[in-house]
């Protein structure tokens, strides 16, 4: 039987590097075992992949390395359940399965020439990172880039190596915050939605892209609305329990849309047209 064209069959890959981002988040850099497939692999920023730990199961993660950097695919995993715990037990050189790319992507074409406002919390920076790096690789296509990113404590900030880089760049405005005072932290303190209100970016010719824990999203959307951003200007990326990843098994739907296939990227106006079932 032909092994091609089976959307359930993962590509065999190897974990080449593991980065401990925070006490419960690790980033995995994986390379497909077939060098030709790795060479030909292409994806759009915002697309996701299913990582397999054979014997344990599969889970969905955004590909948070940018499409312009092709040496490896990076996925960030927060330890939460069975599969993520098994992933955290892996070491460099271990085999892994990858089913990617899945889902839709950030509509970056429509964002050209606009100012981009990224609002992220905790591991919510993962899907934003791929787009930020992609945009930085095409810097001239976009206007001002502002990143508001926060976590509970400084230890919970992801991609510290990127944050350092972005802080130093003059063409990116990075605003970091932590939820509460923390020894050794001399930057902003405050919840992300509150910092957003303080910074009060203008909605003029701007697209806001947000990702983070549900409670942060809720208040961020309120703050954006108060700042006069309309629903078309706000984009988010969602999470759901997934299994097939290709819109068949029936579980990740919100109304008629499957988060794995028609998402995970949605504009707020799209979400508002769907039944409220987040």
């Amino acid at each position: 039987m032909s092994m091609v064209n089976n959307p359930y069959l993962p590509e065999l890959a190897t974990v080449v590097k593991i980065i401990e981002e925070t006490p419960n988040i690790k980033s995995f850099q994986v390379v497909l075992n077939d060098p030709e497939k790795m060479q030909r692999f292409s994806f759009q920023p915002g697309q996701v992949g299913q990582l397999s730990v054979f014997g344990v199961g599969e889970s969905t993660f955004v590909i948070n390395s940018p499409p312009t950097r092709k040496e490896y695919l990076q996925f960030s995993v927060m330890r939460a359940g069975e599969v993520t715990s098994a992933l955290h037990e892996l070491t460099e050189g271990d085999p892994i399965g990858v089913r990617a790319p899945l889902g839709n992507w950030f509509p970056y074409e429509q964002m050209k020439g606009k100012n981009i406002l990224f609002i992220g919390g905790g591991i919510g920076l993962a899907p934003l990172r791929t787009l930020i790096l992609f945009m930085l690789d095409h810097r001239d296509d976009y206007g001002d880039i502002t990143i508001i990113y926060g976590a509970r404590t400084p230890n919970d900030l992801c991609y510290k190596y990127d944050l350092k880089d972005w802080e130093e760049r003059s063409d990116v405005n990075l605003i970091l915050t932590v939820d509460a005072e923390f020894p050794g932290w001399d930057k902003r303190v405050g919840l992300v939605p509150n910092v957003l209100k303080e910074v009060a970016p203008s909605p003029e010719n701007t697209v806001a892209i947000t990702c983070g824990p549900p409670i942060m999203i809720k208040f961020t959307l309120q703050a954006l609305s108060a700042l006069k951003f309309n629903d078309e200007q706000i984009i988010t990326t969602l999470e759901k329990r997934m299994k097939c990843g290709i819109g068949i098994c029936g579980r990740c739907n919100i109304g008629t849309m499957y988060v794995c296939k028609d998402g995970p990227v949605f504009s707020l106006s799209q979400l508002k047209s769907l039944p409220p079932e987040l």
Binding site: L12, F54, G55, E58, G81, D94, P95, P214, G250, G255
Partner: protein, 347 residues
């Protein structure tokens, strides 16, 4: 060569024996008081008098199916190095499902739009679907709970069927619906069925007239259900007696949700696809502990909406319910989806 064939009742088993030489044939049999589909065994009698408790969906969409096997191999040169080998599992012989009801077969057309899309094809489903010929038996009368005519179908609907049998006084009229059906007519010994077509038509029309109609006019229903989405009171009332088991979904010919789990012993294991139900709490439970559908009324609402609102919105108004009535007949608490739809229309 006649277009349609007729076979006397006594000759049915001979027909199946002949078919069984080239196909694996599944027939409805009686075990105790339960009718279900089993592989045909010579000498065993068929039960064609009523619909099976469990529709034959498990033949094309098995209750559990191995997607692939994996095998961890250690490198003798480097003990820390482990690699994985994957083996797909897809072989399926030529198959006939004989004597299921038209509603059972129609269920597969609901699957087809989802499993066989232009962008993504489920190869396991396609293999089984393409290799299976479905011979349906039209109903002479409705059974408790049936309401097929209310969802745009009927006791002799041909959707999903390759060959339609109608029970007449002296035997069965076989009318081919697809090329696969024509192959069966050619392959076996039938009398000319044309003289029996009038009788068959009458039988089918009589049956359709007897089917109960709990609701009509479904064109506005998808939008109506959406408008009721946030009417908590409505859904809590309808779901109050539901006990959140999976009987309705597992017995439903159109339900197609599944789970994927891995099982491993030692160095080898399997990735298994198995039936799952949107009525279970764990269906949408996320690792964080958050569940978008924590209450049974959320889940019942989703089930009704999926069949009568979301699926028709995506696929040109096609309702994802065949009206077989099994969910009503076998629900422990007699939750009645046709009643819920009627209430929604009137709400």
């Amino acid at each position: 060569m006649a277009e349609c064939g007729f076979l006397a009742k006594e000759k049915i088993n001979t027909l199946i024996e002949a078919l069984a030489k080239k196909f694996q044939v599944f027939v409805p049999v009686l075990e105790g008081e339960v009718v279900l589909f089993r592989g045909f065994e010579s000498g065993k009698s068929l039960c064609l008098s009523r619909p099976a408790n469990l529709p034959p969906k498990g033949i094309i969409f098995p209750a559990s199916d191995v997607l692939f096997r994996f095998n961890f191999q250690k490198d003798p040169e480097d003990p820390k190095k482990v690699s994985v080998e994957l083996k797909e599992n897809r072989d399926f012989p030529l198959t006939i499902i004989f004597g299921c009801r038209p509603c059972d077969a129609q269920g597969f057309t609901i699957y087809d739009r989802v499993y066989l899309t232009p962008e993504t094809v489920d190869p396991y489903y396609r293999e089984r679907r393409e290799k299976t010929t479905i011979i349906t038996l039209a109903c002479n009368a409705p059974f408790p709970g049936c309401f097929c005519t209310s969802v745009g179908r009927g006791p002799a609907t041909t959707e999903g069927s390759d060959l339609l049998m109608t029970e007449l006084e002296k035997g069965y009229l076989f009318v081919p619906i697809t090329e696969k059906g024509k192959e069966i007519i050619k392959a076996a010994e039938f009398e000319d069925g044309s003289p029996y077509q009038e009788e068959a038509k009458k039988v089918q029309e009589n049956a359709a007239a007897l089917v109960r109609k709990p609701f009509e006019h479904l064109e506005k229903l998808p939008q109506k259900l959406l408008s009721l989405f946030e009417n908590t009171q409505f859904w809590e009332k309808e779901a109050a007696k539901c006990i959140s088991c999976g009987a309705c979904t597992y017995l439903c010919p159109t339900c197609y949700c599944f789970n994927i789990t891995d099982e491993q012993v030692g160095n080898t294991g399997e990735r298994i696809r198995s039936w799952d139900s949107c009525m279970f709490f764990h269906f949408t439970l996320e690792a964080s502990g958050h569940n978008p559908r924590p209450n049974k009324y959320h889940r019942l609402r989703n089930r009704v909406n999926h069949k009568f609102s979301y699926y028709p919105q995506k696929y040109n108004g096609v309702i994802a319910c065949c009206g077989c009535g099994r969910c009503i007949r076998y629900c422990p608490m007699s939750v009645d989806i046709s009643e819920i739809v009627a209430h929604a229309q009137g709400a």
